[in-house]
């Protein structure tokens, strides 16, 4: 898996939900929280927690998390968590492995596939460039994006 900062930064380049964006960012790190975090403390937990890093496991995990919010918000929570988690898994799909890739269709089959573009540890090398790219992206969006257009429209209306 790429590091979490890469996941969070890469998530800036996609269409982010306008409301409750915080949950989208939680979604971006959700598969690793469910399926990788305990492994740092206890390596042998790898296979037990592995379903947390599969599409079905993430879906179930996100659904369970929605019950930690008030009913009126749950639908939005679920949608935003899933949107972020889907982008996380998409980025993980692009990794190379010597062994099996992630088990995308677990528990139906152990068969895997990947689109091998980079090694998991290479994400750390790309981090400075990604940081600059995200900074530029936000600058350009502030200058030319929707917010700027609204600002200009409002000032025109005032005149």
């Amino acid at each position: 898996m790429p590091d979490l900062l890469t996941h969070v930064l890469a998530g800036h380049f996609t269409t982010r939900p306008r409301s409750y964006r915080e949950l989208y960012f939680v979604g971006l790190i959700l598969p690793d929280l469910l399926g990788r975090l305990p492994m740092i403390f206890y390596k042998l937990s790898y296979w037990f927690i592995n379903p947390g890093h599969t599409p079905i496991g993430t879906l179930l995990g996100a659904y369970l998390i929605t019950f930690l919010f008030e009913p009126a918000l749950r639908r939005t929570v679920f949608r935003n968590l899933l949107l972020g988690a889907s982008f996380h898994l998409l980025l993980d799909l692009l990794q190379r492995h010597v062994t099996d890739a992630y088990y995308w269709f677990f528990p139906l089959t152990w068969k895997t596939f990947e689109v091998p573009l980079f090694w998991p540890d290479h994400s750390i090398d790309a981090l400075p460039y990604l940081l600059v790219a995200v900074g530029l992206f936000h600058l350009l969006r502030r200058r030319f994006g929707r917010g700027r257009r609204l600002e200009v429209a409002q000032s025109d209306n005032q005149r």
Binding site: D3, Y46, L60, F78, V98, W110, D121
Partner: protein, 153 residues
């Protein structure tokens, strides 16, 4: 909306939780069979002599020479590997193709990868985790009495 309402709340929580737990148990039972366990090979070296397999999640423990090193699997079993890899990577994880040889060592295959910079990845990931949590907690606050997050007003 029915999926997210409080009606049959415990069923809506219990069913997916049970399904997720069942998946975890299944994975814990069936998953390790996909991963070679050095102890099994070392118990009966003659039987597995010449077996080719792919090793994952093993840690480089030490270098025993220019083309010899020792790795440890997640169960804590160690095995010697013959083959050349860059030095100075003790503690890093390595995945590789190998052939098991009696009386109990591995011959490194052509395809291998060392997962370097694990510590940096951990530190950077921890930073991201803290950042996301702060971002989240600026919007939501935990209500321990009701066991849920509520939006800050």
């Amino acid at each position: 909306m029915a999926l997210f309402s409080d009606r049959h709340r415990w069923l809506k929580i219990g069913l997916p939780a049970a399904l997720l737990l069942a998946m975890c148990i299944y994975s814990a039972i069936a998953g390790p069979k996909l991963m070679p366990r050095f102890a099994d090979y070392l118990q009966d070296p003659a039987r597995f002599d010449g077996t080719r397999f792919v090793v994952q999640f093993t840690q480089i423990k030490r270098y025993d020479g220019p083309d010899r090193f020792t790795v440890q699997d997640i169960w804590g079993n160690r095995i010697d590997v013959t083959g050349s890899i860059p030095h100075g990577e003790e503690g890093c994880f390595i995945s590789f193709e190998a052939v098991f040889k009696s009386p109990g060592y591995l011959v490194l295959g052509e395809y291998w990868h060392i997962y370097a910079r694990d510590t940096q990845k951990l530190v950077v990931s921890a930073l991201a985790l803290v950042g996301v949590m702060v971002f989240f907690l600026r919007r939501f606050k935990p209500n321990l009495r009701r066991f849920r997050f509520e939006e800050r007003r």
